[in-house]
């Protein structure tokens, strides 16, 4: 896709993030790195000693049974969920609980939710331009141009003036992806982006995600769409009961998983 080029070129870490990893070039810095990450909800141990590195341009699919901690993990990555021990680094910068720092880091981390979470009181265009204007300080016309570009990319340029409730689920999710892309993120997080869609709309969203992957976007994606994992992922992470049980290439993961728990899960998923 030709306009993917411009998207990648424009993507760059904020200067202050680039400076923090000294001698190493940004290419060696993992886009996301969780180390010894532990998270409790009260006394419930939701994430157990998670170690995960997403290299720049990496496309990682996380799967696992319900309640295994997939959402919790992905939400720790952009600071939506605080954690008790361990570190999460985004482009080499440690996440702290400092709001200003979190806000800065979130600009370079796009997130797409299962429930879309579009702002229902704003048009598609306004959904896309809100952060451009409020966070990046773009002018109205500049923001509109950027939004139009990404709406085009997710193949719904003609819906810009509509409200979310006037769109189908698949269209809403594509707007949500465009809204996140508008901020020119370095990483995209997806939390079961197709799970609340009617079957006939799953493909249109997956197609957009596959395009993104092909353009070199770094992606961390919770999904049970095994077709997507096969086609677009370079690593599949299997989680169970708060732990990462197995990490493998899609080919190995599906054909020859090393862990019994993975096999059981796949049996149920692919049955």
């Amino acid at each position: 896709m030709s306009d993917g080029q411009s998207m990648r070129q424009a993507a760059s870490w904020p200067a202050e993030i680039g400076q923090q990893h000294g001698a190493r070039g940004p290419d060696q810095t993992a886009a996301v790195e969780a180390a010894a990450l532990n998270k409790w909800f009260g006394s419930f141990h939701a994430l157990k000693d998670i170690n995960l590195a997403v290299p720049q341009g990496g496309r990682i699919v996380i799967c696992g049974p319900s309640g295994s901690g997939k959402s919790t993990l992905i939400r720790c990555v952009n600071g939506l969920e605080p954690f008790q021990s361990g570190t999460v680094r985004i482009g080499g910068v440690d996440l702290t609980r400092d709001q200003k720092q979190l806000q800065k880091i979130r600009r370079s981390v796009g997130m797409v939710f299962q429930q879309f979470n579009l702002f229902p009181h704003l048009t598609v265009m306004a959904n896309c331009t809100l952060a451009l204007r409020r966070v990046l300080g773009k002018s109205r016309t500049e923001a509109a141009d950027i939004a139009a570009h990404y709406l085009e990319r997710v193949r719904i340029p003609e819906q810009a003036h509509k409200y979310p409730a006037q769109l189908s689920g698949g269209q809403q999710q594509r707007v949500a992806i465009a809204r996140a892309l508008c901020m020119n993120p370095k990483i995209m997080l997806f939390d079961e982006p197709t799970s609340s869609l009617d079957p006939e709309m799953v493909k249109e969203v997956l197609d957009v995600m596959i395009d993104l992957a092909a353009d070199g976007m770094t992606m961390l994606c919770v999904t049970h769409e095994m077709g997507f994992a096969r086609e677009a992922a370079d690593q599949v992470v299997f989680m169970d009961q708060g732990s990462i049980v197995e990490t493998a290439s899609p080919a190995t993961f599906f054909a020859a998983p090393s862990q019994e728990r993975t096999r059981l899960f796949l049996d149920k998923m692919l049955r």
Partner: protein, 219 residues
């Protein structure tokens, strides 16, 4: 006693003469009750006031009669050196009494916003103030507009209580005419009709507002 239409018509200017006070008091009381109710709810959410205390305060406010508040503010406060004009007492009393209801309205209006809204806004890098002002507040206002409108009608219908502290409002002026002329039916009918028309008009407005809010911009 016959209903004298000519006499009824003659009372209209006097009664409508204070309609401004009635509406003004209702508007200001509704604003006051909204501000108070909203503050109660925010204080409760922020955890600065424990939930059970807030629950008690709201229940207390709602279970005391409006008249008790008006008498208290008008006759008891002066003993403690606080003497307020009748109009201020009226607005304050209605604001306090209805704040208990409006706190509930704001609670429901905020609860109805899915958690994902604030999360999506934060994930885009918006700061807290922008999350509230561009994402949460507009949705809350949309959620509370119709119920606040309905409470406005209730507040309007409670304005006659202010007659007891001699605020010139519509029912009071009708009663004045009645006691001066010994004719009750005409002025009271007129005041009843005026309230009816007002309430219907507002309810109609709220309806239209609600329909507009339930339009395409709603989820």
């Amino acid at each position: 006693m016959n209903f004298d239409f000519a006499f009824a018509a003659s009372t209209v200017p006097t009664i409508l003469g204070v309609i401004g006070t009635t509406i003004g008091v209702a508007v200001l009381s509704c604003a006051g009750a909204s501000i108070l109710g909203f503050s109660f709810e925010i204080a409760r959410r922020a955890g600065s006031v424990p939930g059970y205390l807030m629950r008690f305060a709201i229940d207390f406010i709602r279970s005391t009669p409006v008249l008790a508040w008006l008498y208290f503010l008008y006759f008891v406060l002066p003993h403690w050196g606080v003497t307020l004009p009748a109009l201020v007492v009226g607005i304050l009393g209605l604001s306090i009494y209805f704040s208990g209801y409006l706190a509930e309205v704001f609670k429901a209006g905020i609860d109805a916003i899915p958690k994902g809204q604030a999360e999506a806004a934060k994930a885009l890098g918006l700061n807290r103030i922008d999350v509230v002002s561009f994402v949460l507040a507009p949705q809350m206002l949309r959620n509370v507009a119709a119920p606040v409108g309905n409470h406005f009608v209730s507040i309007l219908k409670a304005t006659p209580y202010l007659a007891v502290i001699a605020v010139p409002e519509m029912l009071g002026s009708a009663l004045d005419i009645a006691s001066n002329t010994y004719r009750y039916a005409e002025p009271l009918t007129v005041v009843g009709i005026v309230f009816l028309v007002l309430a219907l008009a507002i309810a109609q407005g709220v309806n239209m507002l609600e329909r507009k809010l339930l339009g395409p911009t709603n989820r």
